[in-house]
Each structure stands twice: as structure tokens, then as C-alpha cells.
């Protein structure tokens, strides 16, 4: 081997060595990297395992601690698991005896139960199932159930779970509430009828008195002196006041008796008032042309507007009286106004006037019930009533009616 060849080989060897060392270093670096990575992975794994443990113990806690009954069953309805609440509710100890949920169904609810069970299988869940069950001790209980299918890793249904709430007590209360409401409605109706009968019985004698008085007058036209005639007229006036008092008390007591709600066109209601109410010639009643249609009892709305308008007429002292009916529409309610240019009301009476029998002026033609009726009707339709007034200038009553 010549010298040159030897030198070449030596250089080659040197390069090979250097390459080997470089490779070893690279490998060493890589394996350190790998080691650190696996350390890191192990740590992450441990954390994940802890988390899983935590989750399953949390779940176990939920399972044991929820107040509602928790049931796991296979797809044919065989109960696999009851929590304590379920055991207490149904009375079966499923660790000791076999139970299929079909045995729990109350006969009358069977069709509903089977429909819901079908829904569970096709849709994967059902919600707000409410029906009766029969417990081991043959007790009937109302339950509310939300259920869902449990799937395995391959998304195949393997079981079903349900949360069952005992709503027997709630159902009982609901039933009681219904009965009480029914009773209340009935007694309200009776009261309404009774008020009408009483008013009839009170009004009849007044009619008799008036008839008798008019006959007495007719028969003794020449015999009576002027004082007697005056006294008789006073009796007649008193009878009239008595009659309107009875009418007002009747409408006050039945003001919150709501008839069936229908659409009420207030334009028609106001037109009716305009034609039936006596409006003196010096008073102009101006009504906004496009009053809304509201829901309620038209008689009530008639009473409401009529009372406010007749008040405005009664307490108007101006040569040219003006009464204006207007409204504005708000998103959830209508606000009406009845404006007059009459006597006005002092601030201190603004609250008082809505109380029953509170008349500001002792007047023969005023029973002091009108505004109380108005207030009651506004309350009935969940509205508010208030007023703005300047004595001797006029008053505006505002009230709202919920849409």
C-alpha cells in the first residue's frame, strides 16, 4: 500500500470517526429529548387519571346525593340500578329482587307510557313525562321523568337512564288549587247574582213609593197646600237618590266580576254613551276618532267612560263646557285621557276621590261611588288611574288599559 493510499484511508477513517461522534451526539440529544417527553407524558397521564377518578367520584356523589330518584335500566326495561331515592320511592330493593319498569306503570297510563318508551328508543330521550306509578306497597304516586339512552363507545345503545321526581304532592296541590278556583268562581258568581237580587228587592219598594206618591198627588191636587206639595217632592227626590245609590252600589260590587273577554271597539262604546247620556247644550263632548279595540267586557268600558264623562258634565261650571276624550298607544298598554274645563280638584283630594263614598261636594245627584267604580274597573284591566287638575281651570283624568 503506497503512502498516498494510506493517507487517504487515514483521512477517511478520521471522517468516519467524526461522523460517528456527530451521529452519537445527535442520537444522545434525541434520546434525552425523548426521555423528557416521556416524563412529561407520564405526568400528564397521571393528571388525567386523577381527573378521571375525580369525575367518577363526582358522578358517584351525584348519583348518591341527588334528591330525585335515578334509575338505570337495560333496553327491555329491566332495572339495573336504583339510587337510594329511587329505592325509597318505588319500595323495591333491586340489589335483592328483579324489577322491570313495566311493572311500575299505572294501568290507565299504560298507552302514554309505552308511547314515551318508544320515543326514548327512537329519539334517544324523552322529557317531562308525567304519569302515575304503583309502588311495591301498591301506593299510587305521580312522577315526573326525564330519560335518555346510554350509548357505548361505538355509539350503540346499551341502556337507558332516567331521573324520576315524585310530584304526588304537587299534583295534589294542583288539584286543590283547581277546586278552590272553581269554588271561588262559583261563589263569585253567586255573589254577583245575590247583589242583583238584593238590588232588585231594594228597588222595588222605591218604585211602589213613587207610584203611591204620584197617586196621592193626583188624587189631592186641590186639597194640598204648597208646603205639603214641596214635602212630597222632597220625598220623591230622596227616593230618587236612594235608587241611584242602590244602582251605584250594585255596579261597584260587580265591577270586578269580569265577564268573558271579547274584542271591544271603544269607538262604538263612546258613540253609545254619546247617544244615551244626557249632555247639556252648553257642553261639547269631543271624542278622538280612532279609539282602539281592547279586550274585555264592553259593559265595564261603558261604565268606565260614562262615569268619568258624567262627572265631567256634573262638575262643569263654565259657560262653554268642553270635554275631550283622547288616547295614546304605548307598547304594552293604551293610555286614555278625559279632559274637562270644569271646577277642578284640589291636590289634597287627588287620592281620596277614588275611595268609595268619598264625594267632594255634598250633592243630591252624586252618590260618591262613581270614581270608585272607575278605579275598580281600571284595576280589573291591570291599569293605573291618576289625574292632573288646576282648580277653576279643569281636570284631566288619565288611565291605562293593558293591551
Amino acid at each position: 500500500m503506497n503512502l498516498e493510499k494510506i493517507e487517504i484511508l487515514e483521512r477517511t477513517l478520521k471522517r468516519e470517526r467524526a461522523a460517528r461522534k456527530a451521529a452519537e451526539k445527535i442520537l444522545e440529544d434525541k434520546s434525552r429529548e425523548l426521555y423528557l417527553l416521556s416524563e412529561e407524558l407520564q405526568e400528564t397521564n397521571l393528571k388525567l387519571e386523577n381527573l378521571l377518578d375525580e369525575k367518577s367520584s363526582e358522578l358517584k356523589g351525584v348519583f348518591e346525593n341527588i334528591l330525585d330518584a335515578y334509575v338505570v335500566m337495560d333496553l327491555s326495561g329491566n332495572v339495573l340500578k336504583f339510587n337510594d331515592a329511587a329505592t325509597a320511592l318505588f319500595g323495591y330493593d333491586v340489589t335483592k329482587e328483579k324489577l322491570n319498569v313495566l311493572n311500575l306503570i299505572y294501568e290507565e297510563d299504560e298507552v302514554y307510557a309505552m308511547t314515551s318508551f318508544g320515543e326514548l328508543k327512537t329519539k334517544g330521550f324523552f322529557k317531562n313525562y308525567e304519569a302515575r306509578v304503583i309502588t311495591k306497597s301498591k301506593e299510587i304516586k305521580w312522577v315526573h321523568i326525564n330519560a335518555s339512552i346510554i350509548f357505548d363507545r361505538n355509539n350503540l345503545p346499551i341502556a337507558a337512564q332516567g331521573i324520576v321526581r315524585d310530584i304526588t304532592h304537587l299534583k295534589l296541590l294542583e288539584e286543590q288549587k283547581k277546586q278552590i278556583l272553581n269554588k271561588l268562581e262559583k261563589s263569585n258568581e253567586e255573589l254577583y247574582e245575590y247583589a242583583h237580587v238584593v238590588s232588585h228587592d231594594l228597588k222595588s219598594p222605591l218604585r211602589t213609593i213613587d207610584a203611591l206618591l204620584s197617586w196621592i198627588k193626583a188624587d189631592n191636587l186641590e186639597k194640598f197646600d204648597s208646603e205639603t206639595v214641596q214635602n212630597i217632592e222632597l220625598i220623591e227626590k230622596t227616593v230618587e237618590n236612594m235608587d241611584s245609590l242602590i244602582s251605584d252600589i250594585l255596579s261597584y260590587s260587580s265591577a270586578d266580576f269580569a265577564a268573558e273577554e271579547v274584542d271591544v271597539n271603544l269607538n262604538k262604546v263612546l258613540q253609545n254613551i254619546k247617544t244615551t247620556l244626557f249632555i247639556p247644550t252648553n257642553i261639547t263632548l269631543s271624542i278622538s276618532p280612532n279609539l282602539p279595540i281592547v279586550k274585555g267586557d264592553s259593559t265595564k268600558f261603558q261604565q268606565l267612560f260614562q262615569n268619568l264623562i258624567s262627572n265631567a258634565i256634573k262638575f262643569n261650571d263654565k259657560e262653554e263646557g268642553l270635554i275631550e276624550i283622547d288616547f295614546i298607544e304605548e307598547p304594552t298598554f293604551y293610555q286614555f285621557s278625559v279632559k274637562d274645563n270644569g271646577l277642578g280638584i284640589e291636590k289634597e283630594f287627588h287620592e281620596k276621590i277614588f275611595k268609595v263614598f268619598q264625594s267632594l261636594t255634598k250633592r243630591e245627584d252624586s252618590t260618591g261611588i262613581g270614581l270608585s267604580i272607575v278605579k275598580k274597573i281600571v284595576d280589573l284591566y291591570k291599569g293605573n288611574i291618576w289625574l292632573e287638575s288646576t282648580p277653576n281651570v279643569g281636570t284631566t283624568f288619565y288611565f291605562t288599559i293593558k293591551k
Binding site: E193, H196, V197, S199, H200, D201, K203, S204, L206, R207, T208, D210, A211, L212, L213, S214, W215, V239, E240, D243, A259, T299
Partner: protein, 140 residues
């Protein structure tokens, strides 16, 4: 007036004595002599209505009656093939809207609220009498 007026056979069903007097007095002032039959309650009224040859032209009915109420009476009357055609007008002090609607539903020819003033009462009764004496009734 040249229109032919008819005097009426009226059945008044009313239990209150003064009310009967009021009605009779008012009728007596009318320019025609009407024949009034009184019944104090529903039973009495039905007894009178048994005579099918002598049925009234008009029934005036008070709603407030003892035992069988005016509305019950009306229901029975309007179910009876022989009697249902007789115009029946309610005379009452009760302005119970429910009663009014119920009466019109069953089938009344009028619903008259008795006013307080005797003068107003006369006006209303005269209007009824005039209407039924002027207009057509079922012929027998």
C-alpha cells in the same frame, strides 16, 4: 188615527200587589179597553194557559217570582208548541245583563226595565200597549 186598533188579551204574571195596581191603572188610562188576566206565579199562569181556546195575545212577565223563576217559566213556555208563539215581554227591576241576554236567547219580544218614576213607567207601558194593538198577531 185611522189605523185599526185592537184591544188585547193580556196575561200579567206578577206577584206584587202594587205592581198589579200600577199596571191596571196605566192600562185604564189607555184609549182602548184591554182585558187583563192576572197570575201571581208560574203555576197559576200555566193553569190559565191550559185553556187553549182562550190564549192571551201578550204575556207580561216579571222575572222575580217565587218558586219557579221568570226565566224558568219562559223556558217552559218557549218549548211548548201551543204557547211558544205568544209574544212575551219581560217587566223587571233587575238590569242584570246576564238575565237580559238569557231572555233574548230563549226568545222574548221585549225586555222592559221598570223605571223609578211612575210617569216614566206609564210612558213605557203605553208604548207596549200601542205597539201590540197596532201590529199583527197570530190569528187563531
Amino acid at each position: 188615527m185611522n189605523i185599526l186598533k185592537r184591544s188585547l188579551n193580556i196575561l200579567l204574571i206578577e206577584d206584587h200587589m202594587i205592581e198589579i195596581v200600577k199596571f191596571k191603572k196605566t192600562v185604564s188610562y189607555h184609549d182602548l179597553k184591554h182585558n187583563i188576566t192576572e197570575a201571581k206565579d208560574a203555576d197559576e199562569a200555566f193553569k190559565i194557559l191550559e185553556d187553549k181556546n182562550n190564549l192571551p195575545d201578550l204575556i207580561l212577565l216579571d222575572l222575580n217570582m217565587p218558586r219557579i223563576s221568570g226565566i224558568e217559566f219562559l223556558s217552559i213556555l218557549k218549548k211548548d208548541e201551543d204557547l211558544r208563539h205568544i209574544p212575551t215581554v219581560i217587566l223587571t227591576t233587575s238590569d242584570n245583563q246576564k238575565d237580559l241576554e238569557e231572555c233574548y236567547r230563549i226568545g222574548v219580544s221585549g225586555y222592559v226595565l221598570k223605571p223609578l218614576k211612575y210617569k216614566d213607567y206609564e210612558t213605557k207601558i203605553e208604548a207596549i200597549l200601542t205597539y201590540w194593538s197596532l201590529n199583527e198577531l197570530k190569528k187563531y
